[in-house]
């Protein structure tokens, strides 16, 4: 039986990694992450070590 998965045709890249016809927020290529970097420095490096959960579904 032939393999049902065929290698796809080569397609041109979508402009800017985005597209489609639907409503979108303004496209931001590289978000301003200065505030985020500050937020990240406040993350307690030990937080994950203390984090413990029960197995769920």
């Amino acid at each position: 039986m032939p393999d049902p998965i065929q290698k796809p045709r080569v397609v041109p890249p979508s402009p800017g990694g985005g597209g489609g016809d639907g409503p979108k927020e303004p496209k931001v290529e590289r978000p301003n992450t200065d505030e985020l970097m500050k937020r990240m420095r406040k993350v307690d490096p030990e937080q994950a070590k203390r984090y413990r959960q029960r197995t769920g579904q």
């Binding site: 998965i5 290698k7 489609g20 639907g22």
Partner: protein, 506 residues
């Protein structure tokens, strides 16, 4: 019939201060703190049966039954009844919010459009966030909620998806047809994880695409907590079992990005629709070793994601996805413009993953998380195996708009949204108007004090000496839902609902 769908998401919970916490007590307290309109402790557990197997038999016990029995024994020492421990709240949007053993769980109502689904999921996030903020403010010790799937110690919890399908679709065709799709879709719906795990054990550092891909060891089974299967066989349709089945997907990650949720549920629904519409078996992709492929794809840092097909070829996971996309185009053509856009967006993500995987960071959780944390890691000179990366990973999932990293990215404009922000984040807890959830939610909104019990497939109300059951087990057509909504809107008391064709007295 058109596939309907919903999500059920277990949430991780802890406190900012203090040592080891009682996660069960925290989960109960969180759920019980909800003040959103709804009815509490009236969920009808008698209508649940997770032991029925879609392969045509009933298992005597689940692998987790022993663990659950132990948990129940521990919980017996709490000064709370079973019902109080579960603390089920059925909300006016038709959703379910409860303590699932040790995790707050929010189950969206049934949806028939992706816009409804994304809105309902976001409403759950807002509900959870509100509860955490209220308890934190009251106690002076913040409640931290994580919409993720692991504690990095080998304890995983789920974000399950449910898809209502016609019973006529044979189980073997369904299970066989979905396997390769579920294994490979993580390239766009993985939430990203800094770490590798096994059951009950942290294995080592390193980034991978999906939170859940370390935790699956079986091809098919009815279990969900131990030795989890790629395809879950639970046969509990929450609908007329002669006509419907519910495909219960347990392999997925919880997504923060609305676009990832939209792609995950939308693509899965369309593949299921293609199978239901008769996509031929010989054209369905098959993998040589699906269980090995799942973690291999997730951990492949080349981001080429090679997989071996049953036919002996090596292809990329994206190629497998594209094969499914072609089946969808042929056998499940879009019903409207919204579904056509989903197909376009799915195709575009696949192209972008091949061209430049991180160009999807404006849509996909794993790419957004990786790009952000790697930028920070490089800037701060953090080693690739530093445990801090796991804390940053956790913080991506924190349900707190002021501190969570996802929210920080979102508010900086980093994410494309699949629908207008006002639609996604309306936060009104309004039910989807196209499904039976509108009737469940409507009963709760209008006659909440008269609701004796509720379940996915039925609501029982009291009106004086009358007990009225709305049997929602076969209420799936738009006409029937619309008729139900009209009668409900006009009704001044529950007894007037008896004019509905699916209502009866008990």
């Amino acid at each position: 019939m058109q596939v309907q769908f919903g999500l059920e998401t277990e949430i991780g919970i802890t406190r900012e201060q203090g040592g080891e916490i009682d996660v069960v007590a925290e989960s109960i307290a969180l759920v019980r703190s909800a003040t959103a309109p709804g009815v509490r402790q009236r969920w009808d557990y008698r209508r649940e049966d997770p032991h029925q197997d879609a392969r045509g038999f009933r298992v005597a016990e689940l692998r987790q039954d022993t663990d659950e029995a132990n948990y129940f024994a521990q919980d017996a020492s709490r000064p709370l009844s079973f019902s109080e421990i579960k603390s089920d709240l059925v909300l006016r949007n038709g959703a379910r919010f409860y303590n699932d053993h040790a995790h707050p769980e929010y189950c969206t109502p049934e949806c028939s459009t992706l816009e409804e689904l994304v809105e309902q999921d976001a409403s759950g996030d807002a509900l959870l966030t509100g509860c955490a903020q209220a308890i934190g403010a009251q106690s002076g010790n913040a409640v931290l909620l994580y919409k993720n799937n692991t504690d990095f110690r080998g304890h995983s919890y789920g974000c399950h998806e449910n898809y209502l399908l016609p019973r006529a679709l044979p189980w073997a065709d369904l299970a066989d047809g979905m396997q390769a799709f579920l294994v490979t879709r993580q390239v766009f719906c993985g939430a990203g994880k800094y770490g590798r795990e096994e059951e009950d054990r942290f294995v080592g550092a390193g980034f991978q695409l999906a939170q859940r891909s370390d935790f699956f060891t079986e091809l098919q089974s009815v279990d969900t907590m131990q030795r989890r299967p790629l395809v879950n066989t639970r046969d509990e349709p929450h609908a007329d079992p002669r006509k419907y089945r519910r495909f219960h997907v347990i392999i997925g990650d919880a997504n923060l990005s609305p676009f990832a949720t939209y792609l995950k549920v939308g693509s899965t629904a369309l593949v299921l629709q293609a199978l239901a519409n008769g996509a031929p078996r010989e054209r369905i992709p098959r993998l040589a070793d699906p269980l090995a492929a799942l973690p291999a794809i997730s951990r492949d840092l080349s981001w080429k994601w090679p997989v071996r097909t049953a036919g002996g070829r090596t292809l990329g996971a994206v190629d497998v996805q594209r094969a499914y996309l072609e089946l969808v185009r042929e056998f499940a053509p879009p019903a409207d413009a919204a579904w056509a856009r989903l197909v376009t967006d799915w195709d575009e993500v696949l192209r972008d993953l091949e061209r430049d995987p991180l160009s999807t960071a404006d849509r996909l959780d794993w790419a957004a998380k990786y790009r952000l944390i790697e930028q920070f890691r490089e800037g701060e000179g953090i080693a690739a195996d530093d445990p801090w990366l796991r804390s940053l990973d956790l913080s991506y999932h924190l349900l707190d708009p002021a501190a969570g990293l996802f929210y920080g990215l979102r508010d900086s404009g980093a994410f494309r949204l699949p629908f207008p922000a006002a639609s996604i984040y309306g936060l009104a807890l309004r039910p989807p108007l196209t499904t039976r959830a509108a009737l469940r939610g409507g009963c709760i909104e209008k006659f909440g004090g008269d609701v004796e019990s509720a379940q996915w497939d039925g609501v029982v109300l009291r009106d004086g000496r009358l007990r009225i059951e709305l049997d929602l087990g076969d209420v799936f057509t738009p006409d029937l839902v619309a008729a139900g909504r009209a009668v409900l809107a006009a009704a001044r008391r529950p007894g007037e609902l008896l004019s509905l064709p699916f209502a009866k007295t008990l």
